[in-house]
């Protein structure tokens, strides 16, 4: 059986959407191969350094944790802004030597650790692994090297330091059209000439399992709310500290007589159309499915993501979406014809009301979205085959 080592700094629930994708990739490939995970752990808020290397079992995966350098978010934000404003000819100046470490993830001993696992393939997941294609060069020369950069439409992807992730590997997997465009933006310098054989670019159709019988059950206490919309204001990761957003009241009033179920990090609640009665909802993926399956529509207020998982789940469950223009979620809505998108808040209300007011429009979007999502993102066998082909060739 082939052995694959997945290297990432985004292992675990605290990394939000990209953490979930890393786990889905490992899960997909574990059906056919033996999978080891090397987790580049950046120091937590306490800044207390732990042991250099630690091995633990996480579900079916054996995870080797190794201490790595933390990212510098402020510096990365400045670089992102500069890259967004400047043209391509300014990239070398913006991406100076001092920005090499801005992504974090660099750690000593990783190469030796990976080599000791004797992999047939190394799969690099996330932009923090940008330095590994060069570092691994001779140590695992027999192994296939593949990457899933998870950079979405981030301007940081244009940094020359990140180019090994696209040009220094045997294959690159992208999870959205926006990411594919970003990766192939400068084909003559990014894809190809860095290795003896050209880098293969693959689009991965990330597949999800949605528990439909569980989703079809109406959540206890929801019958009193009649019609409701799901409002996404944060990634549903259950992280504490989030509160009900001002958008909750605003959307509730602007869309007319309809209840609002807000999903904001760790604060999930449903309020009735008068917004006086509020019922808390325990954050969990099955509860999100239950909300999505019975909602009139799913309204997404979040900025750009990497995959738009909640949009895909909503489409799979037959609920139309209203999403921000220019995001990955917009890509899904447009490709599937299963939802509408907006460029400002007035358009958001117009699109939401159009769906709420027209049962025919809602039913049509629902059918089209569900068919597309089931065909494109409901086939786990195909996803597993794609990841296996990316990793093993």
């Amino acid at each position: 059986m082939s052995r694959i080592v997945l290297v990432t700094a985004r292992w675990g629930a605290s990394h939000g959407e990209s953490g979930a994708i890393a786990r889905l990739l490992a899960g997909a490939v574990s059906q056919r191969c033996e999978v080891g995970v090397v987790s580049l752990c950046t120091p937590g808020p306490s800044r207390v350094p732990g042991p250099a290397t630690k091995t633990r079992r996480d579900g079916v995966f054996l995870v080797h944790e190794i201490a790595a350098a933390a990212a510098m978010p402020v510096r990365a934000g400045l670089a992102r802004a500069a890259l967004s404003l400047g043209g391509e000819d300014r990239l070398p100046e913006v991406a100076g030597a001092r920005l090499v470490e801005l992504m974090g993830g660099r750690a000593s001993g990783v190469v030796e650790l990976i080599a000791s696992l004797r992999p047939d393939s190394v799969l690099l997941v996330g932009p923090e692994t940008w330095w590994l294609p060069e570092a691994l060069g001779l140590s695992v020369s027999g192994a296939r090297l593949a990457s899933v950069p998870l950079i979405g439409d981030d301007a940081l992807a244009d940094l020359v330091q990140l180019s090994p992730l696209y040009g220094g590997v045997d294959a690159v997997g992208v999870v959205s059209e926006a990411e594919r465009r970003r990766v192939t933006r400068r084909p003559e310098t990014v894809i190809g000439p860095a290795r003896s054989r050209p880098t293969e670019l693959m689009e991965l159709d990330v597949a999800f399992a949605v528990n439909r019988p569980a989703a079809n059950q109406l959540m206890v206490g929801m019958a009193q709310f009649d019609r409701f919309v799901v409002l996404l204001t944060g990634f549903p990761d259950g992280s504490p500290g989030a509160v009900r957003s001002p958008g909750h009241d605003y959307v509730g009033a602007g869309l007319g007589p309809v209840a609002v179920a807000e999903v904001a990090h760790g604060h999930w609640s449903v309020s009735d159309k008068t917004q006086l009665r509020e019922v808390p909802v325990r954050p969990s993926r099955p509860n999100l499915w239950k909300l999505l399956a019975h909602a009139e529509l799913c309204l997404d207020l979040r900025p750009q993501g990497i995959l738009g998982r909640e949009t895909l789940e909503s489409l799979l469950l037959g609920t139309p979406v209203v999403v921000p223009e220019g995001t990955v979620a917009h890509e899904h809505a447009e490709r599937s014809n299963g939802g509408l998108w907006y460029s400002d808040y007035r358009e958001m209300f117009d699109a939401g009301k159009a769906i709420l007011d027209s049962p025919l429009l809602r039913a049509t979007l629902s059918t089209q979205g569900s068919e597309w999502a089931t065909m494109r993102h409901g086939d786990q066998e195909r996803f597993a085959a794609q990841v296996a082909r990316l990793s093993l060739g």
């Binding site: 009033a253 602007g254 007319g256 007589p257 008068t274 006086l276 809505a333 447009e334 014809n337 299963g338 939802g339 509408l340 998108w341 808040y345 007035r346 358009e347 209300f349 117009d350 699109a351 009301k353 159009a354 025919l360 429009l361 039913a363 049509t364 979007l365 059918t367 089209q368």
Partner: protein, 147 residues
């Protein structure tokens, strides 16, 4: 389904065309609170949602018609239209903003009124439950055999 396939881009284009015809930046849609708890029908004080001033505001807060050019014929009407055009050329953004502010204020007042009515209904319900409990308790005391 007969109506398939439907192109979401066409739906969006139709919405955007309709939106371009509307002026101002404020929310275009708002449903005034016309309903209130049935309990308030019997309350001593009428619901705020039925307040005459609020009703008048809802009926008159749309000022788009007030900015229409003056009608009529003749030199005087022509002069008025000329002045109207000149004034709007300078003040149109300001006047549209004022319209939006008025509309949003009316909606904010409406929201407050709705919440006041809800609170009043909740209070009435609580008072009713307490009165019912007291009546039951009094009946229980009356029925209790004398010691």
């Amino acid at each position: 389904m007969e109506h398939l396939p439907l192109d979401a881009r066409n739906v969006l284009e139709a919405l955007r065309t309709a939106s371009r015809q509307a002026s101002g930046e404020g929310p275009r849609t708002w449903i005034p609170s016309t309903s209130f708890d049935a309990l308030l029908e019997e309350a001593d004080v009428s619901p705020v949602a039925l307040n005459d001033h609020l009703t008048w505001l809802h009926a008159n807060c749309e000022l788009a018609q007030a900015l229409a050019p003056p009608e009529g014929s003749g030199a005087k009407a022509w002069c008025k239209r000329l002045i109207h055009r000149a004034v709007l050329a300078v003040l149109a953004p300001y006047l549209v903003k004022v319209q939006d502010c008025i509309a949003v204020s009316v909606r904010a007042i409406d929201t407050v009124a709705r919440r006041v009515d809800e609170q009043a209904a909740t209070q009435l319900r609580a008072l009713g439950a307490m009165r019912s409990d007291l009546i039951d308790f009094a009946a229980h005391l009356e029925e209790r055999p004398e010691e």
